[in-house]
Amino acid sequence: MKDSKKTYWKGLEELAQDESFKKYAQKEFPEYLPVNLQKGGFDEDEGSSSRRDFLKLMGFGVAAASLAACEAPVRKAIPYLNKPVDVDPGLANYYASTYVNGGDYCSVVVKTREGRPIKIEGNTLSPITRGGVSAQVEASVLSLYDDARLKKPFLNGKASSWEEVDKDIRGKLRSISTSGDKICLVSNTILSPTTKAVIADFQAKFPNTEHVIYDTYSAEGLKSAHQNLFGQAVVPSLDFSKAEVIVSFAADFLGTWISPIEFTKQYSQTRKLNNGKKTMSRHYHFEANLSLTGANADYRSMVKPSQEGLAVAALYNAIAKKAGAPGYNTAKVDVKFIEKAADELWAKRGRSLVVGGSNDPAVQTVIAKINDLLGNYGKTIDIETPVNFRQGSDRQMAGFINDLKGGRIGAVIFLNANPVYNHPQGSEIASGLEKIKLKVSTTDRMDETATLCDVVAPDNHYLESWNDAEPKPGHYSLAQPVIRPLFNTRQVQETLLSWAGSPQTYFDYLQDNWKTNFYQGDDTGLGFQTFWDKLLHDGVYEHEKAAIDEVSEDGVEEAFEGNSDLSGAFAAIGKNYKADNGGYELVLYQKVGLGDGSQANNPWLQEMPDPVSKATWDNYFTMSQADAEAIGVTMTPEGDTSYASLTAGGQTVKAPVLIQPGQTRGTIGLALGYGRSKAGKVADNVGANAYPLASMKDGVANYSVHSDVSIAVDAEKAKIARTQTHQTIMGRSIIQESTLPAYKKDPAAGRVYPKIATSEGFKAPGAISLWKGHEYNNHHWGLIVDMNSCTGCSACTVSCQAENNVPVVGKQEVLNRREMHWIRIDRYYTSNEPEEGLGKINKLRAMEDASDNPEVVFQPMMCQHCNNAPCETVCPVAATTHSSEGINQMTYNRCIGTRYCANNCPYKVRRFNWFKYHDNDQFADANTSMNSNLGKMVLNPDVTVRSRGVMEKCSLCVQRIQAGKLEARKENRRPVDGEITTACASACPADALLFGDMNDPNSRISKALKIKEKDKTHVEVGEPRAYHVLEELNVNPNVFYLTKIRNKDLGSEEA
C-alpha cells in the first residue's frame, strides 16, 4: 500500500499548533480534582465545595474521628534521656548477690535485662554453695513480682506513709521504753552481721529490747548436743565430700536439712564415677518418710520415729563395743542394716559421717558421740567452723510466748517472721498478741501475723536490698539491689535504724560496718572502694581471722552433765522411745519445693512436683499401702483418694491420703508449709497447715508425734494432682543400673545393648538406619545426664521454668495431666520380683506395684534432641526441624497444633498449649508470671511466650547458646567450653547435667563421653556407662545418660 500523506486535523487549534493546544494534546483527560482543598487553586466557581463534597468530607471526618476514638494500643518505647552506663537494651547484666530466707542461704548471680531481674544463677565463686542453687532459690525471683506484696506501709489497718508510721512508732517505742516494758524483736535466723549490728544499735537505744530468734524448722537438738559434749551450742560444718560412709537418721540433708545445696554439692562428688575414680560413698538411711535423701540412699531402712532413738543407741553400742567405750542398755530394736552400718563406719573411721534429723537433744548427743568415737570431728565435721544457718532458740521463743500470754511485753516487732503461721504455738501467739500495746510486722505481705499487727512496715525483697551474710564464721556474702524497690517499701534494717533514731541509710551503715570491721587495708593501696567493688563483684568474701561470736550466747540450758557420760541421754532415750509402739505416729517434714511455706505464694514452687511423690499443689498424709487399707482408703493411680482427719495432741488436721511406697508402717507423714491463709491468691487454702501438729517437748520443737495419733477416713473424696501416675519402670531398660562391685569388675555393668535381627545376623540399631544423618560443621551440642549424681532435687525444673517462660497451669490442669515443665524428673520405684511361675500378664501386673521399701531412681527427662527425630518427620508444616548444630528446634510461629509430634515422641517430652495461659483470667491465680503487668516483668525477653494451640518443648536453651556464640564472635574467638550452658545444667547442685559441644574434642562432654569418632549418622562413644534411652528405636538422641550405680554389695537383693 502506498503511504498516504494525508493528515486530518481535528480543528483549527491543531492546524495552528496553539501553545494551549500543544500543552494538553497528549493528555486525553483533563486534570481535575473534584474537591478543592487549596483555596485559590482553581477558579472560584470550580473550587467551591459542592454539597456532595461536604457530605464526603463529613463522612470521612466522622469515620476518622470514630476510628481515632477507638482505643488503639499505646505502646511506649521511650529511649533513655541519659542512658545508664551498663544498661543496653537486649543485653543482660549479671550481679552477684545473696539469697537469704531465714537461715536458708545461697550465693547467687542475678541476671537482669533492661533493669529487671529475671533469673537467678548460682555463684561459682562461693566456697559454700559453689554455684549450686535449689528450687526455692531459683523461684525467689518470681516472689519479687508477687502481687500480694504490700505496696506501702500500713498503720492501724489503713494505708499510710513512712513518715506517719515512723512518727507513730518512735513515739510509742519511747513511751514503752520509758515505762520499762519489754520490747521484743522476733525474727528467724539472721545471717547478716550488719543487721545484727543494727539490732544491737536498736537495743542500745531501747535497752529493754530482747531479740528472740526461732527457726521454722528447729535444730535446737543438734546445738544442745554439741553444747553437752563440747560446750559449744553450735551446728557444725559438715563435709560429705570426705565421707566414705554416710549414715543418716532421718536427716534430709539433700533436700531440706540445714544446708542442702552445700551438702548436695559435697555428696554428689562422692557419687561420681569415671575411669579414674571407681569409688563411691556408701549411704545408709534410717527414716520413716521416704525423703529425697532416703531415695538416694544405698541402703534404706524404715524406722518409726518412736524407734529412732533406740536405733541410734543400737548404732552407738555397736560402735562403742569396737571402740572400747562404755555401752548403755536400751531396749532392743529390730532395725535392718544397723550392724552393717556400724561395721563399715568403724572401718572408715574419720572418713565417715553420721547425721540425724531429730530435734531431740538426747538423740543428737548420741549421734555426736558416735561421730566422736569414729574420729569424725576435725575430719568430716568441723566444729571450729560452725554454721549460722540455725540460730533459733526454742527455749527463748517459749519464754517469749509465755511473756506474751502473760502480757509482760510492751511491744513486739516481727522482723519478717510469721510465727502465727509457722510456729507450733501459732494460735497461742495470735491470742497473746491481743494484749500487746504495740505490734509491728515488717513482713512483705499481709500474712497471718501481720494482719494481727497495728503497724506493717513492709520490707524490700532481697533483690531490692543491700545486705550481707555470714553463713559460717569467716565466710561472707554480699547482697546488692538489682532493681529499685518496686513499691513504697523500705528495708527492714533501715526501718530499725530509723526507729532507733539514726538518719543513716542502711547502705551507708553497711559500708561503714565493712570498713571498720572487715576491711583490713590492702597492699595495693587502692583503698576501700576497690575492696568494696570486688566484694560486690564476687559476691563472696573470706575473712582470714574467723571469729566465733555469739553462737553460744543463746543460753541453752544443759540437759545432761558431763562431757562424755551419756547416761542422761540414754535415760532420756529409754524413756521416750519404744521398740514396738502400737499406734500411729506422725512425722512432719518439709517439702523440697515449699520448705517452711514462706514462699508458698510462688506458683513455680507450688507446681514443682514433689521429687518423691510427684504431687503438686497440695500436702497430704503419706501412708503405707497397708495402713491406708487399714483405715479404708484406696487411691487410684490418677490420684483419686479420700480425705482423712488426723488428730494429734488435741489438734485435728484434714488432708488427703497419699499412698507412699517406702513409708514406714504405722507412720504418717505430713508436709509443713501448706495451708496458708494470708499468703496471697496462689497459696491461700492450698493444703493444710501442719504446724499446729508440731509440739514443744522439754522446751524444744518436736516434729514427730509418737503417741495418741488417730486418723479416720472422711467421706469426702479428694484428688491429688501428680505429674507422674505410674510409679515403676516395668522392667524396661530405660533405666540401666548396676552396683558398684559389678561396675568395678566391668564398667559396662548394667548396660543393655539392643540388637536388631537382620538377614545378616543381629546388628546394633544404628547400623541399619534409613536415615542419612546430619552434617554438623560448626557445633554439635549434646547433654549428659548422670543418673548417679542426680538427687532429684528439681532445681533444674524451676530454673528451666524461669529461663524459658514455662507457664504454670494450676492444680486442675495438672490433674488433667497437662503440666508444662520442659524438664521433668522421672522417679521410679522398684517393684517386688514377680513370683516364679506367674504368667506374662500377671507378671506385668505385679510389676505395676512398687515394693514396700523400694529402691528409687531419678531420671531427668527433657527433649532428647534426636538426630533421627520422629517428631520432625510427622509435622505437616515443618514447624519442628533439625538445626545445623544438632538441636531439634520448634518454630512456634509455624506450628498449627496437630499434636502429631507429641504423639510420635517416644519420650513424651513435648508440651502443648491447651489453653491461652497468658492474659487469661482462668489462669490468673496460678500463672502469675503471665497474667499481670507486675508478674510479666519476670519473663525472659529472649524467649517467646507461646500462644495457645502451639507445641513447645526443651530447646536446649537455644537463646543462651546464641548469646554465647554472639559474645564469642564479638571477641573474635570460638566459644569456650563451659561458657555456654543450659539453665538446667547451670542450676544443678549435683553437677548431674553436663552440656557442651561434641564437635570440640577438648570439651568436657567429649571427654566425659570419650568420643572415639563421629560421622554424619553416629557418635561413637567410649564411655561404657553412657547410653541412649530407647536406643533400639535408633532415634539417635544428642542426650546421653550415664548408668545408675548403687553402692551395694554384690548379690544383695534386699533394699
Binding site: 493411680p637 490418677e638 507422674q724 501416675t725 505410674h726 515403676t728 519402670i729 516395668m730 522392667g731 524396661r732 530405660i734 490442669e813 488433667n816 495431666r817 497437662r818 521433668r824 522421672d826 521410679y828 506374662k840 500378664i841 506385668l844 531420671q859 527427662m861 520422629p870 518427620t873 510427622v874 509435622c875 505437616p876 508444616v877 515443618a878 509455624r894 506450628c895 498449627i896 497444633g897 496437630t898 499434636r899 502429631y900 507429641a902 504423639n903 510420635n904 517416644p906 519420650y907 513424651k908 513435648r910 508440651r911 502443648f912 498449649n913 491447651w914 489453653f915 491461652k916 500462644s947 495457645r948 494451640g949 502451639v950 507445641m951 534411652v1029 530407647l1030 533400639e1032 528405636l1033 532415634v1035
Partner: protein, 471 residues
C-alpha cells in the same frame, strides 16, 4: 444392552414399569414433607445445635476443653475422623468398584450410599480441622500454597499432609461422581415440576440436560471414567489414613498390616452404615421393591467377609507382636486386652469379629431387624477399633512415667454429636429434595431378568418362590 442368564432373578420386584419408578421416587421429592421427616429433622438440628455449642467453645477456648493430655494427644478427634472416613468408603466402593465389576444390583443403592459418603467425608473433615491448635492458620498452612515467606513449604514427609491430599481428592471425586449421576434425575424432576420455583431450581441443578442419545453417551462415559478414577481412591484413602499410624514409632501404631486392615475395616463400617440408613429409608419411602431382601443379603455378605478380614487382622497383629519379641510391642497388645482400657478392646472384638459371624446364618442375614441391629453394632465396634488403636497405644507407650489415662469431656462428646447432627441434617435434606434412588439407572435394569417376556402373574409366582426360599 445386557446378556443375562435365564436363572437370574429380577433385581427390581413388584413388576415396576419405568413410569412406576419415576412415580415412586419422585413422589417423595414432590410431595410435602411428612411429620416424621420434620421430627427427624428437628432432632438432627437439635444435635447440630448442642454439638455446635461444644464446637464453638472448643474453638473459642482451645483444645484444652477436650480430655486430651500430654501423653494422649489424639483421642476422640482422630477416632471420629477415621470412623467417618471409614464410613465414607462404601458409597464409592458401591458405585465405582461394583460398576466396574458390573454388579447391577448396586443401582438401587448407589445414590444413597454415595450421598452418605459425601456427608460422612464432610463430617470426617471437621476433625482434622477442629483438632488443630491453631485452625485459623492451619487450614491454609497445611496446603502447599505459594507464599510470601520465601521457600516455606509444607513437609512432604508427613502423613498428615498426605491425608490432606487424600481426603480432598477423594471428596472432590466422590462429589463429582455423585453429582453427575444426579443430573438426569434432576432433569426428570424438572420436567415434572409443577411450580416455577422447583422448575427453576431443578432446572439449574440439571445443567440443561436434554436426554439426547449423545448426552446419554457422554454421561455413561463420564461415569465410567470417574469410576475408574474413584476405584484406586477407595483403596488409597484409608491406606493413607492408616499411614498416620503406621509410619510412627509408637507401639501399636507402627504396623505394616495397617493399610489392608484399614481398608477392609472401612468397607466393613461403610456397608454397615449403608444398611442402617437404607433399612430406614426403604421402610419410610416404601422402596421394598427396589431395595429388596436380596440387596440386603448381598451387603450382609460383604459385611461378613470384611468383618472376617478385620478379625484376622486383629489376630495377626497380636501374633506378630508376640513373634517380634519387642517388649514394647508385646506390652502394647497385652495392655490392650488386659489394661485399663480392656473394655474398649473387648467391645471392639465382640462387635467387629464375633457379631458379623452371625451372618453365616441365612435366616439372620435376611432378617431386617437383625440386620439393622447388627449394622449398628458393627459401627459401634468400628468406633472402638479406632479408639483402641489411638488411645490405648498412646496412653502407655515407652516411658512409664508418662503413662496416663484419657477421659472424654462434654466437649469431646459434643463435637462428635455435632458431626452426627451435620450428617443427618444433610442426609434428611438429601432424602427429601434429591431422588434417593438413581431413576435412570434403575430403569435400565427393570427387565434385566430372563423372565421379561412372561406375564406379571408369573413374576409374582417367582417372588413367592423366592420368599419361600428365603424363609
Amino acid at each position: 444392552m445386557s446378556v443375562t442368564a435365564s436363572v437370574r432373578k429380577p433385581l427390581i420386584t413388584g413388576g415396576k414399569t419405568a413410569h412406576d419408578v419415576t412415580e415412586d421416587i419422585c413422589r417423595q421429592v414432590e410431595g410435602k414433607p411428612s411429620k416424621l421427616w420434620f421430627t427427624a429433622m428437628a432432632i438432627s438440628l437439635g444435635a447440630l445445635a448442642v454439638g455446635g455449642y461444644a464446637l464453638i467453645m472448643t474453638l473459642w477456648h482451645g483444645i484444652g476443653m477436650w480430655g486430651l493430655n500430654k501423653t494422649v494427644g489424639w483421642a476422640w478427634d482422630i477416632t471420629n475422623f477415621v470412623w467417618w472416613v471409614g464410613i465414607g468408603h462404601a458409597g464409592t466402593l458401591i458405585s465405582a468398584i461394583l460398576l466396574l465389576f458390573r454388579q447391577k444390583w448396586r443401582m438401587s443403592i448407589n445414590r444413597a450410599a454415595e450421598a452418605m459418603t459425601i456427608f460422612a467425608v464432610i463430617c470426617a473433615a471437621q476433625f482434622p480441622l477442629v483438632h488443630m491448635g491453631r485452625l485459623w492458620l492451619g487450614f491454609y498452612w497445611a496446603l502447599p500454597l505459594p507464599n510470601t515467606f520465601g521457600s516455606l513449604w509444607v513437609n512432604f514427609n508427613s502423613p498428615l499432609l498426605w491425608d490432606v491430599f487424600a481426603i480432598s481428592t477423594y471428596f472432590s471425586v466422590s462429589l463429582v461422581f455423585w453429582y453427575i449421576g444426579l443430573i438426569p434425575d434432576f432433569a426428570t424432576i424438572r420436567d415434572r415440576a409443577q411450580n416455577k420455583i422447583s422448575k427453576a431450581i431443578y432446572g439449574a441443578l440439571s445443567f440443561g440436560w436434554d436426554g439426547a442419545a449423545k448426552t446419554w453417551m457422554r454421561y455413561e462415559s463420564v461415569a465410567l471414567i470417574l469410576a475408574g478414577l474413584a476405584t484406586p481412591l477407595v483403596l488409597s484413602v484409608h491406606t493413607i489414613v492408616s499411614f498416620d499410624f503406621a509410619t510412627s514409632v509408637i507401639p501399636g501404631w507402627h504396623t505394616t498390616i495397617f493399610p489392608p486392615y484399614f481398608v477392609a475395616g472401612a468397607i466393613f463400617s461403610g456397608f454397615a452404615m449403608v444398611q442402617t440408613l437404607l433399612l430406614v429409608t426403604r421402610k419410610v419411602y416404601k422402596l421394598e421393591h427396589y431395595i429388596t431382601i436380596n440387596h440386603i443379603e448381598l451387603m450382609n455378605i460383604i459385611i461378613m467377609v470384611t468383618g472376617s478380614i478385620v478379625g484376622i487382622a486383629y489376630i495377626t497383629e497380636f501374633v506378630i507382636a508376640f513373634y517380634s519379641g519387642v517388649e514394647y510391642e508385646e506390652y502394647a497388645f497385652i495392655n490392650r486386652m488386659t489394661g485399663p482400657y480392656w473394655w474398649a478392646y473387648w467391645s471392639m472384638m465382640t462387635c467387629n469379629v464375633i457379631s458379623p459371624q452371625l451372618f453365616w446364618v441365612k435366616k439372620i442375614r435376611t432378617n431386617l431387624a437383625a440386620t439393622f441391629i447388627l449394622s449398628i453394632v458393627v459401627n459401634i465396634g468400628m468406633w472402638f477399633e479406632r479408639f483402641v488403636i489411638i488411645v490405648t497405644s498412646l496412653h502407655r507407650d515407652y516411658i512409664p512415667s508418662s503413662w496416663a489415662m484419657f477421659t472424654p469431656t462434654f466437649y469431646d462428646i459434643g463435637v462428635y454429636l455435632f458431626t452426627f447432627g451435620l450428617f443427618f441434617t444433610a442426609f434428611f435434606l438429601f432424602a427429601k429434595f434429591f431422588p434417593v434412588i438413581n431413576l435412570a439407572e434403575v430403569k435400565s435394569i427393570l427387565k434385566s431378568d430372563s423372565l421379561k417376556s412372561k406375564k406379571e402373574e408369573t413374576i409374582n409366582e417367582m417372588q413367592e418362590v423366592q420368599d419361600l426360599e428365603n424363609n
